[in-house]
C-alpha cells in the first residue's frame, strides 16, 4: 500500500480558474458573515458552566473517553458529509461546478481558522454545553471531511464504464447502485483517506477542547482541556499523564479501527497487488467470526436492502430536439447568473468587512508574515528531509526492518504532537531561547513522519532485480544514491513532503504561539497572527489571516507542488 497524494495537489479534472476565485470569495464571505453575526450574539451568551478540569490522573480515563467519543462523532459526520456532498458533486455537472472548487478552497483553509465559528455554534444553544460540543466536533469535522469527500468524488468519477453499464443493464436503482457499486468501488481510497483524517483529527480534537475566541472560552472535559490546565499550572507531571493517556487511546483506536479498516480495504481492491504490509488484524478476524457482530451487520444490510427496489432506473435519453436544447441553455444561463450574483454580493461584503476594519498597509504586512511562515515551513521540510530520507531508504531496503518500523511510523503520525509542545516550550522558557527559531520545529514535529513513511514505501518498492542489476554493475556509494536510491524514492518522497508541508502550515497556528504558565511566547509569522487575532476575538483580522494563509497554500499547491509532482511522476515512476 502506498500513500496517496493529498487531493489538493492532484491534477483536478475540473478546469481551475474563475471558479476557484468564486469559491474562495464565497467561503470567506460566509465566515465573515458568521463571525459578524455571532459577534452581536456574544453578549447574550451565558458562559459555559463547565466544571473545572482536575489534574488528578484518576479523571484522565474519563477525559480520554470523551475526547475519543468526540472524534468518533466527528468521523461519522464526515462520512455522512462525504456520502452526500461528493455524490451530489459527482452526479450533477452543474452542482460540481460550484461544489468541487469550494471543497478545494475549504481544504486549504487552516483548520483552526474554523474556530471563529465557535461563537456561532454556542449561539445555537445559549448557555448549554451542547453548543460547545457541537463547536468542538465541527472543528474536528473540518479537519477530516474535505479530503474524504474529495477521494469519494474522484472514485465515483472513475468508475469504469463497463461497471456503470452493467449496473444499468441489471436495472439497479440509485440506492442499490450506491451501496452495491459506488461505495464498494470507492472504499479502498476512502479508507485510506479516513486514516489520514483520523491522524489530523487527533491533533485538532485536542486543540478544540480548550479554545478562546475573544471573550468566549470553550473548556470541554477532555484530554485537550487537561493539557491546557496543566500548562496554566506548569505541571510537567500532568502533561506526562496526558501523553500516556492519549497514547493508550490511540493504540486502542489503531487496533479496533485502523487495522481492521486497512485489512478490509483489501477486499475491495480491484486487483490483487502484493501488499507491503501484512494486512492482518485481530479485530477484523473477531468481527468476521463473531456471531453478534455479524448479526448486527446483517441487520444493517437488510435495512440498506429495503431501499433496493425503490427508485427508478434512469432511462437513456434520446438526443433532444432544438426547442428543449434552447430551454436547457436558458436554465444554464439562469444558474450561472444566480451564482455570479451571489458571488458578487459576497465579494463586496467580504471586501467591506475586512477593509472597514483593517488598513490596506496591514494587509501587506500580513502577506509579509505569510512569507516568514513560508520560510519556516521550507527550512523545516528541508531539514526533516535530510534526516529522514537516508533513514527511510535504509529501512525500506530491509524488508524485515520495514515490517517492524512501518506500524510504528504509522502510529507516530497519528499521535497528536501538540501534547508534546508544553515540554518543548518549558525548555525554551527555561533556557531562554529565541522563540522565533526554537518554536519552529514544533511545526514539523507531527508531520515529518509522512516523509519517513513514504520514503520507506518507495525504497521497499524498488524491485529486487533493479537492486541486483545495480550490484552486478558494481554501483556503490554516492553513485548508488544518485543513480538508484534517490530517483527510486523521489515520487514517494514528493507525496510525503507535500503532505508534511500542508500539515506544517496548519500546525503553524498552534506552533508559533505558545504559553507556559503566564509566559507567552510568540514567533513572528502568519500562524501567530491568526492565533492572536482569534484569541483577541478580532474577526476581521482572523478572517484576513486565514484568507492569506489559504491563498498561500493554494498558490503553492498550484504553482509549486503540482507541477513538481507531475514532473516527478512522469520521469521517475516505474510504468
Amino acid at each position: 500500500m502506498r500513500f496517496e497524494l493529498p487531493i489538493s495537489v492532484l491534477k483536478n479534472r475540473y478546469v481551475p480558474g474563475r471558479w476557484d476565485v468564486i469559491a474562495f470569495v464565497l467561503v470567506f464571505a460566509f465566515f465573515a458573515y458568521l463571525g459578524d453575526a455571532a459577534h452581536g450574539l456574544t453578549g447574550s451568551l451565558a458562559h459555559l458552566e463547565a466544571q473545572p478540569i482536575s489534574l488528578d490522573p484518576r479523571y484522565l480515563p474519563g477525559y480520554a473517553a470523551q475526547t475519543a467519543l468526540r472524534m468518533l462523532v466527528a468521523m461519522g459526520a464526515s462520512l455522512l458529509f462525504t456520502f452526500t456532498y461528493a455524490t451530489l458533486a459527482a452526479k450533477s455537472r452543474r452542482a460540481a461546478s460550484v461544489l468541487v472548487p469550494l471543497l478545494d478552497i475549504l481544504q486549504s483553509v487552516p483548520i483552526l481558522g474554523f474556530s471563529i465559528t465557535i461563537v456561532f455554534f454556542l449561539s445555537l444553544t445559549p448557555g448549554r454545553v451542547a453548543g460547545a460540543e457541537l463547536a468542538a466536533i465541527f472543528l474536528v469535522f473540518t479537519s477530516q471531511a474535505w479530503n474524504m469527500a474529495f477521494s469519494f468524488y474522484y472514485s465515483l468519477r472513475s468508475i469504469p464504464d463497463e461497471l456503470n453499464e452493467a449496473a444499468r443493464a441489471f436495472h439497479l436503482g440509485p440506492w442499490m447502485r450506491f451501496w452495491r457499486l459506488e461505495v464498494p468501488f470507492a472504499m479502498p481510497a476512502l479508507i485510506w483517506n479516513m486514516m489520514m483524517s483520523m491522524s489530523g483529527g487527533w491533533f485538532f480534537v485536542v486543540a478544540a477542547e480548550a479554545i478562546s475566541v475573544g471573550h468566549t472560552t470553550v473548556t470541554l472535559p477532555g484530554v485537550g482541556s487537561y493539557i491546557a490546565r496543566a500548562i496554566q499550572e506548569r505541571s510537567l507531571t500532568a502533561i506526562g499523564w496526558a501523553i500516556a493517556a492519549m497514547f493508550v487511546v490511540i493504540l486502542i483506536y489503531d487496533q479496533i479501527l485502523f487495522r481492521p479498516l486497512t485489512a478490509s480495504a483489501d477486499w475491495f481492491r480491484q486487483e490483487q497487488e502484493a501488499g507491503l504490509m501484512p494486512s492482518r488484524s485481530w479485530a477484523l478476524t473477531m468481527m468476521r467470526r463473531s456471531r453478534l457482530l455479524s448479526l448486527g451487520l446483517r441487520i444493517f444490510g437488510s435495512v440498506i436492502r429495503l431501499g433496493f427496489n425503490r427508485g427508478s432506473v434512469r432511462k437513456v435519453r434520446a438526443p433532444r430536439a432544438g426547442g428543449s436544447a434552447m430551454s436547457t441553455h436558458l436554465v444554464e444561463v439562469a444558474w450561472y447568473a444566480a451564482v455570479g450574483g451571489i458571488v458578487a454580493l459576497a465579494a463586496w461584503r467580504l471586501g467591506r468587512f475586512v477593509l472597514d476594519h483593517i488598513p490596506l498597509v496591514e494587509v501587506g504586512h500580513v502577506v509579509g508574515l505569510g512569507f516568514l511562515t513560508l520560510l519556516r515551513v521550507a527550512v523545516l521540510i528541508a531539514l526533516a528531509s535530510m534526516l529522514w530520507v537516508p533513514i527511510g531508504v535504509y529501512i525500506g531496503m530491509r524488508p524485515r526492518l520495514t515490517r517492524t518500523i512501518q506500524p510504528i511510523a504509522q502510529f507516530l503520525a497519528a499521535f497528536p504532537v501538540n501534547l508534546l509542545f508544553p515540554i518543548v516550550v518549558s525548555a525554551i522558557v527555561l533556557l531562554k531561547l529565541d522563540p522565533n527559531i526554537w518554536l519552529s520545529p514544533l511545526m514539523v514535529l507531527g508531520t515529518q513522519w509522512y516523509i519517513l513513511f513514504n520514503v520507506i514505501v518507495g525504497a521497499s518498492s524498488l524491485s529486487a532485480d533493479l537492486r541486483y542489476a545495480g550490484a552486478n554493475l558494481g554501483v556503490r556509494g554516492w553513485l548508488w544514491w544518485r543513480r538508484i536510491a534517490l530517483p527510486a524514492v523521489f515520487p514517494f518522497y514528493m507525496t510525503g513532503a507535500i503532505t508534511a508541508s500542508g500539515g506544517s502550515w496548519n500546525a503553524s497556528i498552534v506552533a508559533e504561539v505558545a504559553d507556559w504558565g503566564n509566559k507567552h511566547l510568540t514567533a513572528a509569522g502568519l500562524g501567530a497572527y491568526i492565533a492572536n487575532a482569534t484569541s483577541a476575538g478580532d474577526f476581521p483580522r482572523t478572517v484576513l489571516g486565514i484568507a492569506v494563509m489559504a491563498l498561500f497554500v493554494v498558490v503553492l499547491n498550484r504553482l509549486f507542488w503540482r507541477p513538481l509532482y507531475a514532473r516527478a511522476e512522469r520521469k521517475f515512476r516505474v510504468s
Binding site: A469, A471, P487, F490, K571
Partner: protein, 442 residues
C-alpha cells in the same frame, strides 16, 4: 563459430563446485533450494541451464554473479573464489531491470560510471555498445518509451559495455513475444558467431527447450526440489540451426524425454520434504485451475491424439508454454487421470471416462480421485466430518502445512486444494471468514 572443439582443451573460466543454498524457514527448518550443484564454463561456449520454474536456476545465477553467497560449496571464477559482486561477470535479466529514470545512454553508462572511466572514454564505449546492439537513435529515450524487445537490447548493451568475460542470461527472452524473441536470439547468435562480442562464454537459463537447443553448445538439465544438475546433453549441430532439421527435432525430443523422466530414487534432503505426487499431506500443490485440468483431458482425448499425445506437439497445438503444460500434466498425473513419461502424456482409463462424461458425473469422478489420491483433500474432509460444527478455520490447516513447507508454498497449496475442493464440491470455503465448511451455499 562452433567453439565446442576449442573449448574442450581450455581451462574452465568458471567452476561451480558442490554449491548448495538453503533458506531458514520461520520455524527453524531448512528449505533446500540448491543441492550439490556442479558445473563448469569453458571459454567459447554457450551453456544452457534448463529446468522448470522454481528449480533454483535464477538463484544459482545470482550465486555465480556474487550477488548472494552459497550456503555450502564454492564458485571459482578465473581460479579465485567469488565473494561479492564479481567484476567481469555481467547479467541480463528476464524483467530487463532497466532503471526507469535513466535514459538508454545513462542506463548503458551506469556500469562504466561505477568503474570511474573518464567521461570521453565512457561515452565512446557506450555509443559503441549501443551501435553494436542496434539501438542507434534511441540514446535519449527512456525505457518506458521502448518496446519490450528494444528494452532487452538495452539490457544486453548495458551488460556488454563493461566488457565482461562471462554473460549470465536469466530467461532473457521469455518476457518477449515469440517474434521479437526470435529476432533478438538470432541477432545475438550472429554477433556471437562473428566474434563481435567481448564475452568469452555465456550461461543461459531458460525453460524453453527449443531456445536452449537453438542457442547452446551444451545443455544441463536441472531438477526441482532441490535444484541440481541431473544430466548433460551436448548439442553438436552447427550454427545457424534450423528448427525444421530432423536432427534438431530429435534433440528437442530427447530433452523432453530427459525432463519428463521419472525421478530416480536418489537420496533426498530433509526427512519431511515429501515432494512426490500424492505421498502425504505435505505435498506442495502447484496451482492449476480445474478449467485447465478439464481442458487438457479433453484435448488429449480428442482426435488426433485419441488419448496419447507427444508433449512438444500438443504444447505447440495448444499454444502453451512448456512449463505451464508440465504443471497441468503433473496435476493430472497426481489425480491419476493421466501418465507422463518419455515426453508423452497418456490418459488413464479414468481420464478417458472423465472426458466422455457430462458435468455432474465429471464432478463425482473428480471428487473420488481427489479424495483418494490427494491426501490433503481427504484430510480436510475428515476433519470437517469429525467436527460437530463441520467447520474448521483455514489456520488449522495452514499451521499444519507449514511444518512441511515454506509459508508461501503452504498458501499456494491451500489455494489449490480450495479450488479443486470447490469444483468437486467435497467442501466449501468462505474467504471472508477464512473458514472451511461442509455447507453448500445453494
Amino acid at each position: 563459430m562452433n567453439a565446442n572443439a576449442v573449448a574442450l582443451n581450455l581451462a574452465p573460466l568458471l567452476a561451480v563446485r558442490s554449491v548448495g543454498k538453503s533458506f531458514r524457514k520461520p520455524d527453524g527448518d531448512e528449505l533446500v533450494v540448491l543441492d550439490n550443484v556442479n558445473l563448469t564454463l569453458r571459454p567459447g561456449e554457450i551453456v544452457g541451464l534448463l529446468g522448470r520454474s522454481g528449480s533454483g536456476k535464477s538463484t544459482l545465477l545470482r550465486l555465480i554473479a556474487g550477488l548472494d553467497a552459497p550456503t555450502s560449496g564454492v564458485v571459482d571464477y578465473q581460479g579465485a573464489p567469488v565473494a561479492g559482486p564479481a567484476r567481469g561477470i555481467a547479467m541480463v535479466f528476464q524483467s530487463f531491470a532497466l532503471f526507469p529514470w535513466l535514459t538508454v545512454l545513462e542506463n548503458v553508462q551506469l556500469g562504466l560510471e561505477a568503474i570511474r572511466l573518464p567521461e570521453a572514454e565512457m561515452r565512446k564505449r557506450s555509443l559503441q555498445a549501443i551501435d553494436l546492439i542496434g539501438l542507434d537513435g534511441f540514446e535519449s529515450a527512456y525505457p518506458r518509451e521502448l518496446s519490450g524487445g528494444m528494452r532487452q537490447r538495452v539490457g544486453f548493451a548495458r551488460a556488454l559495455v563493461v566488457h565482461p568475460s562471462i554473460l549470465l542470461m536469466d530467461e532473457p527472452f521469455s518476457a518477449l513475444d515469440v517474434l521479437t524473441a526470435e529476432t533478438l536470439r538470432s541477432d545475438f547468435l550472429d554477433l556471437w558467431g562473428e566474434g563481435q562480442l567481448p564475452i568469452r562464454s555465456v550461461l543461459l537459463v531458460t525453460h524453453n527447450i527449443e531456445e536452449a537447443v537453438q542457442m547452446c553448445d551444451r545443455l544441463l538439465i536441472f531438477s526441482t526440489h532441490p535444484g541440481r544438475v541431473v544430466s548433460e546433453i551436448p548439442i553438436d549441430l552447427s550454427q545457424p540451426r534450423s528448427t525444421l532439421d530432423p536432427r534438431f527435432r530429435a534433440l528437442v525430443e530427447r530433452v523432453y524425454v530427459e525432463m519428463t523422466a521419472k525421478p530416480r530414487g536418489e537420496a533426498r534432503v530433509g526427512p519431511k520434504n515429501e515432494r512426490f505426487a500424492g505421498t502425504g499431506i505435505g505435498t506442495t500443490l502447484i496451482h492449476v485451475s480445474s478449467n485447465l485440468l478439464q481442458g487438457l483431458i479433453e484435448a488429449v482425448h480428442a482426435p488426433p491424439y485419441n488419448g496419447k499425445a507427444d508433449l512438444p506437439v500438443i504444447a505447440e497445438d495448444l499454444h502453451m508454454e512448456l512449463d505451464d503444460l508440465f504443471r497441468v500434466a503433473e496435476a493430472l498425473q497426481m489425480l491419476r487421470f493421466a501418465e507422463v513419461e518419455g515426453g508423452d502424456i497418456r490418459l488413464t482409463e479414468a481420464g478417458g471416462a472423465f472426458a466422455r462424461s457430462e458435468s455432474d458425473d465429471r464432478k463425482h469422478l473428480f471428487a473420488r480421485h481427489l479424495l483418494t489420491y490427494v491426501p490433503l483433500a481427504a484430510h480436510i474432509r475428515r476433519v470437517l466430518d469429525e467436527r460437530s460444527s463441520h467447520t474448521a478455520p483455514k489456520s488449522r490447516f495452514s499451521d499444519e502445512l507449514e511444518d512441511y513447507m515454506a509459508e508461501d508454498a503452504a498458501e499456494q497449496t491451500l489455494r489449490t486444494i480450495i479450488s479443486w475442493g470447490r469444483y468437486a464440491e467435497v467442501f466449501a470455503y468462505d474467504d471472508q471468514r477464512q473458514v472451511f465448511s461442509l455447507e453448500n451455499p445453494a
